[in-house]
Amino acid sequence: MTTLDLDNFETDFWKDVDKRKTWDEIIPGELRDTTPVTLTKEVIARYARGVGEDNPIYFDEGYAKTTPYGGIIAPPSIHILLMFACTTTEDWMRTPGTINAGQNWSYHIPIRPGDTITMRGTALDRFIKKDRLFAVHENTFTNQHGQVVCTGRGQTIRPA
């Protein structure tokens, strides 16, 4: 388990580019290499601010306690951050030119400060359509109690 350190994240997506799987090398069903991360109140607040989420339920404990949620929660879309926070610099989702084509995500339990989230990610499928190389990725995020917090699937067009 690692407390997410946003300030030391590798922002150069060209680094390790040669170690990443290309479309030809992606094996449907194979697990992606992931590490669990712990989301602090600060990380949640910073995510919320960055994506323009200004509902105080995401950063004001006093307010959040007065709601049915009983305390601060993360914006549901925080899996966007987890997708990169839980994976390595060698993960193919970082490959420059990876184009997002669409997504579907389901939410089961709100993520809260202090939660340690584990990602299980695979390529579910790959195909060629309209001359473009597609990969479908599928992800399940669980908390420290083993409960599924959210699941999602997306399609990316792979650099040719």
Partner: protein, 153 residues
């Protein structure tokens, strides 16, 4: 109010209009710092001059997931005060969104459904740009619940 009462106050056809959003270098940087997605598609003007297989772009593009987050915000800002729990969002990106473009998400209540255990609201999602072009489409589900799932400690 019970979840059932809150659910009964929603109407098919109601339209929720999200806040307008204009893409700038700063908004792209903020989103990258929040999401940790530093793909050069969003930063590198030189890189964007090339073609990507069958696809080419006119300059850097907004993150697709920025669009996803804006739709998500539109839904939760409306749902949370009304007792609704955001359950699902499905999106398809139709057109790239570029620097200087302004986009607005809308969610239209398209259906209501009671199941054995829940009260469900269905939404049609559309995101349009400054020219009225649809840049994203999708659908969403929310549930009205008396108790929020999980352990509220």
């Amino acid at each position: 109010m019970t979840a059932q009462q809150q659910f009964s106050e929603t109407n098919i056809g109601d339209v929720i209009t999200g806040r307008n959003f204009t893409v700038m270098r700063e908004t792209i940087q903020d989103f990258a710092d929040a999401s940790l997605d530093y793909n050069p598609l969003h930063f590198d003007d030189k890189y964007m001059e090339k073609t990507f297989g069958k696809t080419s772009f006119d300059g850097v593009i907004m993150h697709g997931m920025q669009n996803f987050a804006l739709i998500s915000r539109t839904l939760t800002d409306w749902l949370i005060p009304r007792g609704g729990f955001h359950r699902r969002l499905e999106t398809r990106w139709l057109k790239p969104v570029q620097l200087g473009h302004s986009i607005t998400p809308t969610a239209t209540i398209s259906g209501k459904r009671q199941t054995d255990k829940g009260f469900w609201l269905l939404f049609d999602i559309a995101v349009t740009n400054q020219d009225g072009d649809m840049v994203a489409t999708g659908n969403s589900m929310a549930e009205f619940l008396d108790i929020i799932p999980g352990d509220a400690k």
